[in-house]
């Protein structure tokens, strides 16, 4: 049994990262995730064989991550929406170089400078690549502080396993809320050895290098295809979701993170009125839980995707449903959190 404590979401991520063996953090302050940066400073600056650097910018931070991660250690950076945009070039380089790292995005309202309220409008950026080139991040979407902990630890394992950056896609609400969390004993996971690629100095072997380019298009195409194979494997093996009340549901809500939490209250409210609402909550946004959505589409003819955006994940829901059922959408933007009542009201429109 692990110990239970009351923690703020942002700090819980930091503690989880440290317990997952992350000793290197590079970041830049931005609301609503600054507590995470501060937590890492407080802990790592007092640890041996560890480093915390407050970088001059998010751009510098992600490039510090690139350097540190290329030596084979576990490294993390975190930010919120505008700062994550600044990191995209670096994330693209790291992904092409096939180096593992963890990036946390506690989303806020956008576009532009937006505001500092919770949002989910970076979905496209997170799951479709985000920077230039053909690539994906492994994207995990926690919906409680406990999941921030568990998924942060999983993110390090998945990044190492697939030598690809993993992203925790949370939001300002999850980052700021306090909940009881337990740091559970985790089973030991077999992970690939890094000694075949990490930079250590070339003692006893040929020199090696980490790069993200090749001017020969034939080689670069092959490189892309190899990276793509990893995404196929991710889609086969790493899809995670939570399914609630799918049997005999009159309508199924698809929502992730904070919105999925709210939708669970909606389901309880609906039940009292004799309405049967189900929920599919993607836990991995990439790989996306297409199969459960597709199989549900055969039984339930109505979907309602709810997001704190003006309709991003709904496109992936439509692709998974593939015309087999009706896909509706409800979203709030700019940092507004939908209430259980307004989601229920919206659901009733389609029943």
């Amino acid at each position: 049994m692990g110990e239970k404590m009351l923690m703020k979401g942002n700090e819980a991520i930091g503690e989880a990262a440290i317990r997952a063996g992350c000793r290197y953090y590079f970041g830049y302050p931005i609301t609503p995730q600054s507590e995470l940066t501060a937590y890492m400073a407080k802990k790592l600056l007092k640890m041996k064989d560890a480093a915390f650097v407050q970088a001059e910018s998010e751009i510098a931070a992600i490039n510090m991550v690139y350097g540190a991660a290329s030596t084979g250690v576990r490294v993390m950076t975190s930010s919120s929406s505008p700062g994550i945009s600044l990191k995209q070039e670096g994330i693209s380089y790291i992904t092409c170089s096939e180096i593992p790292c963890v990036v946390v995005n506690m989303q806020r309202g956008g576009p532009g400078l937006g505001d500092i309220q919770p949002a989910q409008s970076d979905y496209f950026q997170a799951v479709k690549g985000g920077g230039h080139g053909d690539y994906h991040l492994i994207v995990l979407a926690p919906s409680s502080v406990q999941e921030l902990v568990d998924l942060t630890m999983d993110a390090f394992d998945l990044a190492d396993k697939y030598t690809n950056p993993a992203m925790i896609l949370g939001d300002g609400l999850l980052g700021q809320m306090m909940e009881a969390v337990e740091f559970k004993e985790r089973p030991k996971v077999e992970l690939p050895d890094k000694s075949g690629w990490n930079l250590t100095g070339c003692k006893g072997r040929e020199h090696r290098y980490v790069v993200s380019f090749d001017l020969d298009p034939n080689i670069l195409e092959k490189w892309n295809l190899n990276i793509n194979e990893k995404y196929k494997k991710l889609k086969e093996k790493e899809v995670r979701y939570e399914a609630v009340n799918l049997e005999n549901a009159d309508l199924v809500i698809v929502a992730y993170g904070t919105v999925a939490r709210i939708a669970k209250t909606t389901i309880q409210m609906a039940k009292k009125e004799g309405i049967n609402i189900g929920l599919i909550r993607p836990i991995t946004l990439f790989p996306f839980p297409e199969k459960i959505i597709a199989s549900t589409a055969v039984k339930t003819k109505k979907f309602l995707t709810v997001e704190m955006s003006l309709g991003q994940m709904v496109e992936d829901v439509k692709l998974a449903v593939n015309g087999k059922a009706e896909v509706n959408f409800y979203g709030r933007a700019g940092g507004i959190i939908p209430s259980p009542e307004e989601i229920l009201k919206e659901a009733k429109k389609y029943l």
């Binding site: 650097v53 490039n63 510090m64 690139y66 540190a68 993200s212 380019f213």
Partner: protein, 248 residues
């Protein structure tokens, strides 16, 4: 027979891709000789930039990473913070270091990152075909300053060595040139000092190397060396701007 001259072990046998008369090859060799002399080749991680020396990872016989344009000091920071006992150097051009990467170089120097920066200043963007660099001289004609660099709208060439010397944690800053043997010998000594500063963990070190770009200057190799002597050195004076004795 005694071997009196050979390729430094810190260089691979891959032929350089540089143009005839370009000084990158000399700069590479000097860095490699210094790594050999300190016997640190197997404990070195180099960071190459975007630009003509993007292929430096093939030439240096040490572990290397190719950073994004301008970000080499950040990438080197990440490496050095994990491996404080490794020798970490960046190799950057003027577009990389003095334009797109100004924030990274200033803050790496200000933090006193214990890395060595080799800064090639040839007053022009080479790989993209001869555009104006932050170090392009006043009046110098380039693809993007076709009527000459006009300081009224394009500013004056940035003196990076002097600028970084204002920072307290910059331990060693010098400017050298590779236009003639006497200067090459001085450059080697300076590069050696810079790496010595890193070995002694005294903080940030940078050697700015004035270099030629005959291709994009439109000059022969000999004319280019002469142009460097007559135009660059008067504006970018050679010498040491910070030495470890000045470090608090």
């Amino acid at each position: 027979m005694k071997k009196v001259f050979g390729r430094p072990e810190s260089l691979t046998e891959v032929p350089f891709t540089y143009c005839p008369g370009c000084h990158h090859g000399i700069a590479h060799r000097l860095v490699a000789e210094v790594l050999d002399e300190f016997k640190v080749r197997e404990n070195t991680i180099g960071v190459c930039p975007v630009g003509c020396s993007v292929f430096a990872y093939l030439f240096f016989n040490v572990d290397m990473i190719c950073a994004a344009h301008g970000r080499a000091p950040a990438t080197a920071t990440g490496i050095k913070r994990v491996k404080p006992d490794s020798i970490v150097f960046t190799y950057q051009g003027d577009g990389d270091l003095a334009s797109i990467g100004t924030a990274e170089i200033v803050h790496a120097a200000n933090r006193g990152e214990n890395i060595t920066v080799i800064f090639i200043n040839n007053a022009i963007y080479g790989m993209t075909g001869g555009q104006m660099a932050p170090t392009t001289l006043v009046g110098q004609v380039t693809q993007t300053s076709p009527y000459g660099r006009d300081p009224k709208t394009m500013g004056y060439p940035i003196k990076m060595a002097e600028m970084l010397s204002t920072l307290k944690r910059a331990a060693y800053i010098s400017r050298v040139a590779l236009n003639k043997p006497a200067n090459i010998i001085k450059a080697k000594k300076s590069i050696k000092k810079a790496f010595q500063v890193q070995l002694d963990k005294k903080g940030f070190s940078m050697v700015e190397i004035l270099s030629t770009c005959p291709t994009n200057w439109g000059l022969s190799p000999i004319e280019a060396s002469k142009w460097l002597e007559e135009n660059m050195i008067p504006y970018f004076p050679l010498g040491e701007f910070r030495t470890p004795e000045e470090v608090a």
